[in-house]
């Protein structure tokens, strides 16, 4: 298991901070990639942030109403070692299937 933290990104043009409005996940939740996990408000708008990875929520850095600075930690996940990367999926280990059968006459000479 690895711990991965994500900082609050700059949500506008040079914004410095955002206020946590509502956490859409709680500690211990399994979050999927691109699943919205928090609603924050900046001086320009309120916005839901999608999770950049799939993982289990370990820490929420702030309570609703708290101001979080850009580039400081917002959320920390624990990520299983066998989970996919940021792109793609882990191939399923399926039992091999086939339709073709071999029917060769082997004339060994």
């Amino acid at each position: 298991m690895a711990e991965i933290s994500f900082p609050l990104p700059d949500l506008g043009e040079g914004l410095l901070e955002a206020t946590v409005l509502e956490w859409l996940v709680k500690v211990g939740d399994q979050v999927e990639r691109n699943q919205p996990f928090v609603e924050v408000e900046t001086t320009k708008s309120s916005v839901e942030l999608p999770s950049p990875i799939a993982g289990i929520v370990l820490t929420l850095h702030g309570e609703p109403g708290d101001v979080v600075l850009v580039d400081t930690p917002l959320i920390t996940f624990t990520v299983a070692d066998d989970s996919a990367g940021i792109v793609g999926t882990v191939p399923a280990e399926a039992a091999p299937k086939r339709r073709v059968r071999l029917s060769a006459v082997l004339d060994e000479d």
Binding site: I86, R98, L102
Partner: protein
């Protein structure tokens, strides 16, 4: 015989994934080689998008494991300059499809610096490239660049098929004075297998091909993720009474001509399987080598089961593109049925 070995072994084999064995190998290389540096996109703080460099920055510090801008040409340019200054760069290109911007640096500088400098500027660069398809990624995240790189004089190209090989081949590749393209089959990153890290593999055992499964009626030749698929095919073919040998080529430049010839001269039939497009794919080189060395014993022309001559498709069409079990079995059938005249 393997049962006997199991009994005398003091500790059971570690069950590790390729992701984990590559991580261990990288840690050991950094530990033993002060000149070794790891850099690339997200390899530092994040630990790599496939977690392959996980924890290395914490262990070895940000001077030896560091993130780069999203500029593959710059990553390779940096590697070349560092190698000229005596370092041993181990850069990562995050996905094979991102290697194209770096191809100019690789071909016009990295591959020929040793030649150009008459051996005074060897390029000990171990370039890791998560390669091939199989993970349903979008465009540019799954390609098969082996024939592109194998065509360039001055480069070595290798692709491991399982966790044990990945560990030993990466350490071996890193010990070479030449640039080596290390193609990690990303579809096999997560599969765990018993690994003997302590196996004191002779250098000679890490060069050339290996027989992944012995057989006598035909040889399936593959590398990377296609090796495990060919092993599945061999298992199924055995149900039909056909014993297929699976030759894991491992080194794609230089190709183990002697190993190829030894296998096919026994089985007398060959099918080469790869994910890359058909035309001018590495299968053509393999077929030519086999034809040359085994012309008198071959019972059929060498069959190629490959990707199609189309851009590597996105995830939804991947299963139609990558050689599947049935396509490989058809190839085997064609070779078995072939009659002269």
């Amino acid at each position: 015989m393997s049962d006997t070995l199991e009994l005398v072994r003091e500790t059971p084999l570690l069950q590790l994934s390729m992701q984990q064995t590559i991580n261990r190998a990288l840690g050991e290389i950094l530990d033993t080689d002060d000149r070794a540096l790891i850099f690339g996109e997200d390899v530092g703080v994040l630990g790599g998008v496939f977690r392959v460099t996980d924890g290395l920055r914490q262990r070895f510090g940000a001077n030896r494991v560091f993130d780069t801008p999203l500029a593959e040409s710059g990553i390779l340019g940096t590697a070349i300059g560092l190698a000229m200054a005596g370092f041993h760069p181990i850069p990562e290109v995050q996905f094979d499809g991102f290697a194209y911007p770096a191809v100019n640096q690789i071909i016009t500088q990295l591959a020929r610096m040793n030649y150009r400098s008459r051996g005074t500027l060897p390029m000990q660069v171990t370039l890791r490239v998560p390669s091939f398809g199989g993970i349903r990624a979008p465009e540019h995240h799954g390609e098969s660049l082996e024939s592109l790189f194998a065509h360039v004089p001055g480069l070595k190209v290798v692709s491991p098929a399982n966790p044990q090989q990945a560990y030993h081949l990466l350490k071996h590749a890193a010990s070479m004075p030449d640039p080596v393209i290390f193609m990690e089959p990303k579809a096999r990153y997560w599969n765990k297998a018993g690994v003997d890290l302590a196996a004191d593999e002779e250098t000679s055992a890490l060069e050339g091909s290996v027989i992944a499964r012995p057989g006598k009626h035909a040889t399936l030749i593959a590398w990377g993720a296609m090796v495990s698929r060919c092993l599945q095919v061999a298992e199924l073919a055995a149900e039909d009474g056909i014993e297929l040998e699976v030759l894991d080529l491992r080194w794609l430049k230089p190709i183990d001509e002697a190993g190829l010839a030894a296998s096919v001269s026994r089985t007398r039939r060959a099918i080469v399987v790869h994910e890359g497009p058909h035309t001018a794919g590495l299968g053509a080189e393999v077929a030519a080598l086999v034809s040359q060395s085994c012309f008198d014993t071959l019972r059929a022309p060498v069959e190629r089961v490959t990707g199609f001559d189309v851009p590597y498709p996105s995830g939804d069409l991947e299963d139609e593109y990558i050689p599947n079990i049935d396509r490989i079995l058809f190839g085997v059938q064609r070779v078995l049925e072939y009659r002269r005249g």
